[in-house]
């Protein structure tokens, strides 16, 4: 008998819904509560997808159907803990979430900042944009989120500082489950640099199921850095949906180094004419980690451009999947789209899957895509050896160089240094195990 396409989720999800509905009843409108119930019904109806579903072909999440998670409770978080986190910078405008709950006391909102921060509960019906992918986890997030925020920049503004949204996930003996939810809206011609970071405290397992919805109004520009460095026991499912209006520009850096299982689905809709999106991604996995980088770019209007460069480094028994779709709609003439995925295998037991896809319904386009998988080049290694560099150092140098091509696309030296530091730690760990 064929495997089913979806598995019915465990009953504890329904218990969590009851708890959430009860807790939210005092502060949410009847409409909001009904929306939660409706989202939950959609989640139950779809179930947890198995690998028979094309979008989940390379990532097995079926254990999430059976495993029991406790709702995450925010552990007491001190200012010292936050400032000690790897990507924290005191000069940033920082918004801190502890296990999905906004922490105003720990956030830093400088006097006179143009950034508006609205807690989601106070919003009249935060409308959920329809996700481009059918993704039951987005529905789960919309049903069970406990807290969230809308970050808004008024038209033609540029914040003086970088904005850093820090999601801190404390772990406990029982695996915890949280559903962080964030909305970002950049007004016309607003410009911002926003970093989104997911980190864990402790080494136990947690499961976070995050959604991020971003709207760029006409002419807005966003520099986005999405970093996922959870501990090696955790699961991260992130769904980011970006809608770009006319002439808006986006540069995103999608960095993933943590988690036992991580999947970030990044969908960009170029909904206005002349919008452009540039996505860079770097995933580094080792041990038995699995990472799934999922992108979808919808060219809906004329003269849009998109560019993607995703690189992966895989060691030990790690597995990675890249699946990127570029969809050019019938009216989107003058589209220019490029997509590239490169994978470096450092071990013979690593498995790289790549699925770069083009769907084009229009003849006035220029689209290219490519994918490569391979190990370090023997000639390059030989060259370095001939210059007196020992093989371990040579391997290290070439692997770093492979990753740096992506990191150097960050215009901000501080962010670059942060990610570089994470990269260094990863390679050091490697050296420990190999020597």
């Amino acid at each position: 008998m064929k495997r089913p396409r979806a598995i019915t989720p465990d009953a504890h999800y329904a218990d969590q819904l009851s708890a959430v509905l009860e807790a939210m009843a005092p502060c949410e409108s009847a409409g909001q509560l009904a929306a939660r119930q409706a989202a939950f019904d959609r989640f139950m109806e779809q179930g947890i997808p198995t690998r028979r579903v094309e979008a989940w072909k390379y990532t097995d999440v079926t254990r999430l159907a059976e495993e029991v998670f406790a709702p995450a409770a925010p552990a007491p978080l001190t200012a010292e803990t936050v400032t000690g986190l790897p990507l924290y910078h005191p000069e940033d405008e920082t918004v801190v979430f502890a296990s999905g709950i906004l922490q105003p006391g720990l956030s830093r909102h400088p006097e006179g900042s143009v950034l508006e921060l609205h807690p989601l509960h106070t919003m009249p019906d935060p409308t959920a944009p329809v996700p481009i992918h059918d993704n039951p986890f987005v529905d789960l997030n919309h049903a069970l989120w406990r807290d969230g925020a809308l970050l808004r920049l008024p038209p033609s503004t540029t914040p003086a500082q970088r904005i850093h949204v820090l999601f801190v996930h404390a772990t406990a003996a029982t695996p915890t489950l949280s559903h962080p939810r964030l909305l970002i809206d950049l007004g016309e011609h607003a410009t911002a640099e926003i970093a989104i970071t997911h980190v864990t405290l402790g080494d136990k397992a947690c499961f976070n199921n995050a959604t991020l919805d971003i709207t760029l109004q006409p002419g807005a520009h966003l520099e986005l850095v999405y970093t996922q460095v959870l501990n090696q026991a955790s699961t991260h499912l992130g769904t980011t949906t970006i809608t770009q209006q006319r002439d808006s520009t986006l540069h995103a850096m999608d960095f993933s180094a943590g988690s036992a299982l991580a999947r970030h689905s990044l969908s960009v809709a170029l909904a206005g004419e002349g919008a452009s999106a540039s996505l860079d991604g770097l995933y580094i996995v080792q041990g038995r980690q699995h990472v799934d980088a999922h992108t979808c770019i919808q060219h809906q209007q004329p003269n849009g451009s998109s560019r993607q460069l995703y690189k992966g480094i895989l060691d030990d028994r790690a597995t990675a999947a890249f699946s990127g779709l570029v969809r050019v709609h019938p009216g989107a003439t003058g589209t220019d789209a490029q997509q590239m995925n490169r994978n470096l295998l450092l071990s013979n037991d690593a498995l790289a899957n790549s699925k770069p896809q083009l769907e084009i319904s229009n003849d006035d386009v220029r689209c290219t895509h490519g994918a490569t998988v391979g190990r370090l080049d023997d000639l390059e290694l030989f060259y370095l050896a001939s210059r007196g560099i020992d093989p371990t150092a040579a391997r290290d140098m070439l692997s770093r160089g492979f990753a740096e091509e992506v990191l150097y696309r960050l215009p901000d030296t501080q962010r670059h240094a942060d990610l570089h530091a994470i990269l260094n730690r990863t390679f050091e760990k490697n050296d420990d195990t190999t020597t």
Partner: protein, 478 residues
């Protein structure tokens, strides 16, 4: 009305119907039909068992839907599973006994069955609906030990070879259509090249669907023993009819040590009219296995017909140092839909594969490349290069690329690249300024686009393929 018919003729010149008395089994499929087909073919018992097993499994399955094509559900009970010209019932002893009407059909198609055969230098097996009409050059081939005959004949004369190889590359439970074919396959070709023999002439099978409401389920099996080599060519046409007809074939290739098989297809089934009415559903499973070391299997296909093409000629690179190749041109026009590509599965060490795919979509058609390159953990030093280019002609067509790379060995070097473009106004303007009219200019550019594939075809076929594309493009870009 006459004008309209004349026009249709120009679009698809193989669209005529041959008026021969046809014997058909009643519509529908059940165990009795399967038994009856087997009995009619005087097959050995193991083959009947093979069919029945496949049929029982098929009954439990549901048709797959994952391809990027759309069509109404097929009523599998509304198809004749066996159709044969009546005059074949008395089994002609030689070509001279064959119904002249049948021979004329193949003459009209340009397939040399009779005297012209010697000039053509190609051995042909012609399949008309469910039966093989005749195979040429059998005597010359027999001298060298090459077996080239219809599948039914092979099942009677060489059951041990059929038993040994049938279903070893495409098992009956491989997929829905493979199971259906395994249950009801009618005829096809069998080729066996013994150890060390280089087949001196190209072998060719010509498939023709004539009867209405029938499905064609042919089965081709090619075995090249150690050090043998063969070049095999396949061509297909069907009359123009307003209903859709199903063609679900299986082709299995097996290459032992140092053997090489080159399989070329020019597929020009009727593709339906400009409103998407009629045409063949071409759902074919083609797969080769490089069983032995240093063996080579090469697929070349020119897909210019069929309402829906759904096929992935694949190579399983099992032997060390084996080589797999896939060269494809897929042209779709009117409302045709094609979802085609290849699978290269690297299992042996030092294996290499090349994929060159050129898709041309015109009018309101949909053309998808779908391919898999899989490197298993033991396949050290695997090498793959894939290039998939699409060309769009007109603004209502669709070109898609869906490659899958699954790499489980660090010594692999895998490269995939794809581009999508159209014929640029600059190119057209330049050629027109040199005195070419727009049709010639487009045909020149398209030929250039497909050159990498055409040059791998046997010469006569290459010429035919170029002509075929020109004819198809005439109506699309006129």
């Amino acid at each position: 009305m006459n004008d309209a018919l004349a026009n249709r003729d120009k679009e698809y010149k193989y669209g005529f119907v041959t008026d021969v008395e046809t014997e058909k089994f009643p519509k529908g499929v059940n165990e009795d039909v399967v038994r009856a087909i087997s009995k009619r073919k005087e097959e050995p018992d193991f083959l009947l068992e093979f069919r029945l097993k496949a049929f029982r499994w098929w009954q439990e399955q549901t048709p797959p839907h994952w391809a990027h094509v759309e069509f109404p559900p097929i009523d599998f009970q509304d198809i004749h599973y066996y159709a044969a010209p009546k005059s074949m019932a008395d089994a002609p002893q030689s070509l001279d006994d064959v119904d002249p009407e049948l021979l004329r059909t193949f003459d009209r198609l340009g397939v040399p069955l009779h005297e012209r055969e010697r000039l053509a230098g190609v051995a042909v097996d012609a399949v008309f609906d469910s039966v093989s009409v005749g195979t040429t050059h059998q005597d010359i081939l027999a001298e060298m030990g090459v077996i080239f005959c219809s599948f039914s004949e092979a099942a009677r004369k060489h059951p041990e070879l059929i038993k040994r190889y049938l279903g070893t590359v495409v098992p009956p439970r491989d997929n829905f259509y493979a199971a259906l074919n395994s249950a009801v396959f009618s005829d096809g070709s069998f080729v066996f090249i013994p150890k060390g023999v280089h087949c001196p002439i190209d072998l060719s099978t010509y498939f023709r669907i004539n009867a209405s409401n029938t499905g064609q389920f042919e089965r081709t099996l090619i075995v090249a023993e150690e050090g043998a080599s063969v070049s095999y060519v396949e061509g297909c046409t069907a009359p123009m009819r307003d209903e859709n007809q199903l063609h679900a074939a299986i082709v299995e290739l097996i290459a032992l040590d140092d053997a090489s098989i080159k399989y070329s297809t020019v597929q020009n089934w009727y593709g339906g009219d400009e409103n998407g009415r009629g045409g063949i559903y071409n759902f074919v499973v083609k797969r080769g296995r490089c069983e032995g070391a240093r063996s080579k299997i090469s697929w070349t296909q020119v897909e210019a017909g069929s309402a829906i093409t759904w096929k992935y000629p694949s190579v399983i690179l099992k032997g060390d140092d084996s080589v797999g190749e896939f060269y494809s041109v897929a042209l779709t026009n009117n409302k045709m839909q094609a979802d085609t590509g290849t699978k290269m599965v690297h299992i042996g060490k030092n294996t290499s594969s090349t994929i060159i795919s050129k898709g041309i979509s015109c009018d309101g058609s949909r053309n998808s490349y779908r391919g898999l390159v899989k490197v298993t953990p033991g396949a050290d030093n695997a090498r793959n290069y894939s290039q998939c280019d699409s060309m769009l002609v007109g603004s209502d067509c669709e070109a898609n690329t869906f490659p899958y790379l699954e790499i489980n060995n660090q010594s692999a070097v895998i490269e995939h690249e794809a581009t999508t473009s159209r014929i640029s106004d600059d190119q057209l303007f330049y050629l027109q300024s040199r005195g070419l009219d727009s049709e010639e200019a487009i045909s020149l550019l398209v030929n250039g686009f497909c050159k990498d594939v055409f040059k791998t075809l046997p010469l006569e076929f290459s010429v035919e393929a170029v002509k075929l594309l020109e004819m198809k493009l005439e109506d699309s870009v006129g």
